[in-house]
Amino acid sequence: MLRPSLAAMAVLCLSTGLATAQSAWTGGDDLPTNPLACDGTPATPVSVDYDGGEPTNPPDRAGKAITVVDVPKLIGDGYFDATSKGIAEATAELGNMTATTDGPVEANIDDQITVIDNYITKGVDGILFAANDSVAIAPVLKKALEAGINVVGYDANAEPDARQWFVNQAEFNGVAKSLVDALAAEIGGEGAFAIVTSTFTTPNQARWISEMAAYASACHPNLTWLETVEAQEDNILSFNQANTLINKYGDELKGILGMTSIATPAAADAVTQAGQCGGIAVVGLATPNAMKPYVESDCVKSVVLWNPVDLGYAAAQVLRATADGTLKPGDTSVQAGKLGELQVINGSEILLGAPFVFTKDNIADFDF
């Protein structure tokens, strides 16, 4: 009785995986791509019906002072400190909304649910959240909607019907365009490059790689992709993989694209230590703190991500607009204070805009 279950467990462990999908570039996924126009003309949004939820019998909050709680994935983290800073900016500007940030001390689904649950009991007018798990958070958010609370997400989405709106910091094709454009600009539109990613099956990275392949083939045909290597989000492995690429391709290698906040600084470190700064461009997704040394030493020119302060700001503005009734299902855009008019995409998401490129001029302003 006991042995078969052990064997079953072992078989389970071994049989999973191995089915990696192939796309134009290794490490991408099989899903359809949707590259943006080369000159950045915004794509005409495909009209999708509103698929968000609705609060049950909310009181009339138009123009009235409201209290809001912001529940990020965790507190005490530089990234979410930046989003709550943005929320505070928005509330200061609006004047009729108070927001407190409270959340789990670790990015733990259960603790986050408990925090939200307590605020529903306490009674708030609105909830802003960044979900640790899109499905796990759904029941408690639905409970909030049933209690007549306005619910808006940012950074990490929940099931659409469990919240009203979600502020999407960047679309995959937008990030892909920013990365490839930055790379092409730095190596002069022509040359070979390699990619350091986490693993070939990591969903976000795979999506970005597929979108980059589609965008590069359309807009930068003279860029040559060499290979994609896996580095498991591990510092040492990322450094070693980047180092191997430098030694393997020699002068042919003109650029390295880092797909994670671990891989990009490790690649920059490898290029620095090989004395190849200026010869090999490093472009990637990363948080500013990890990249500051390399940006300040001029080894890295552009780091692509989004601006979390703007993200928090937009989320707070969207919540206010929802409570006021100025943002309703079916609307195609929303006024978000200093950010201007933001587009509604995918039914019930609000796009923050093009990704943010950190350069030597602005990176010192960010601390996360």
Binding site: M9, L12, I75, D102, N108, N118, D133, P139
Partner: protein, 314 residues
């Protein structure tokens, strides 16, 4: 009631709970409402189930650090058995419970047969079981469970949250077993003096294996309830829950050196922690402050109890 009986740890703790409830009730009018109390019971059930069996483990002088990992592993396997292997959900849950109990049984065997200290043995399986959970899941979650399954974690039965009935049943059975049965007395004997227990002809190893298996089973039941409550399965479920459970047990007066402890004490410990977490949040204290306060209460309670029991052997 004698003076000594009055100064029992459980009595002190019960008074503390009453004080806490009274003070927290002053802070928020939403605290002592039926809805909130039931809701808190719902949130407490998973940790509570684990803490009840953990009481037995700690009374024997042992510890089980692997329960959080068993919870994660069982949750993932329930999902995999159901979705990937196509078993009906009740059968998948049944198999999950078997795996959980077996994982606990393995702990018991490592501890008794190979004489590995429980702290080391379960620290090892904490990593092992979590690793299996992550390997099997490949960082993906299983979702899309049928609606009827959510009754367990989100629904109500006879006017109270469904899982509270399971929790109450387990608590009553455990309290009776520990206080009034031969098995309960064996548990205390093992914790007080294992050598003496052996020479008295008690089945020390058998009792330990049974207790660690039960601990695994409790974690597996908690896993099923957890999956139903949050409607998805992830490999990082239950991370750190072992510490919450141990905190409640120790706060409840169970000696970490074994030989002393009651289920009532553990229940009071659970209630105190949950009321503090919830009540403080309703009173406007943020989560980081709450964590600090719970740590302080734990140390303070143990200090008071130790001062009062200075004469007694520990």
């Amino acid at each position: 009631m004698t003076a000594r009986g009055f100064l029992r740890h459980e009595t002190i703790l019960a008074l503390l709970v009453l004080v806490a409830l009274f003070v927290l009730d002053r802070q928020s009018d939403r605290f002592l409402t039926v809805d909130n109390l039931f809701n808190q019971g719902r949130l407490m059930t998973e940790v509570g189930l684990i803490a009840i069996v953990m009481t037995f483990v700690i009374v024997t002088g042992g510890i089980d650090l692997s329960v959080g990992s068993i919870l994660g592993m069982t949750a993932i396997l329930i999902g995999v058995f159901w979705k990937n292997m196509g078993l009906p959900l009740p059968a998948a849950i049944g198999m999950g419970l078997v795996v959980g109990a077996f994982a606990g049984f393995v702990n018991g065997v490592i501890i008794t047969r190979f004489k590995v200290p429980p702290l080391i043995a379960t620290l090892g399986t904490l990593a092992l079981y979590r690793g299996i959970a992550e390997g099997v899941s490949e960082a993906r979650s299983v979702r899309g469970y049928p609606e009827w399954f959510f009754v367990l974690g989100q629904g109500e039965l006879w006017g109270a949250p469904t899982q509270l009935w399971i929790f109450a049943a387990v608590a009553i059975v455990a309290a009776v077993v520990l206080a009034y049965t031969t098995f309960g007395r064996t548990t205390y004997a093992v914790g007080s003096n294992e050598v003496a227990a052996r020479f008295s002809g008690l089945g020390v190893d058998g009792a330990k294996i049974a207790i660690y298996s039960a601990s695994g089973l409790a974690a597996a039941i908690a896993a099923a309830i957890f999956v139903s409550r949050v409607s998805t399965t992830r490999s990082d479920m239950g991370t750190g829950i072992e510490l919450d459970a141990i905190t409640a047990v120790v706060l409840g007066g169970t000696s970490i050196f074994g030989g002393r402890g009651t289920i009532i004490g553990t229940l009071l410990g659970l209630v105190l922690i949950q009321s503090l977490k919830n009540g403080l949040s309703l009173a406007g204290v943020k989560s980081d402050g709450t964590v600090v306060l719970i740590g302080a209460v734990l140390i303070l309670t143990i200090l008071i109890s130790n001062l009062v029991h200075r004469d007694a052997t520990r």
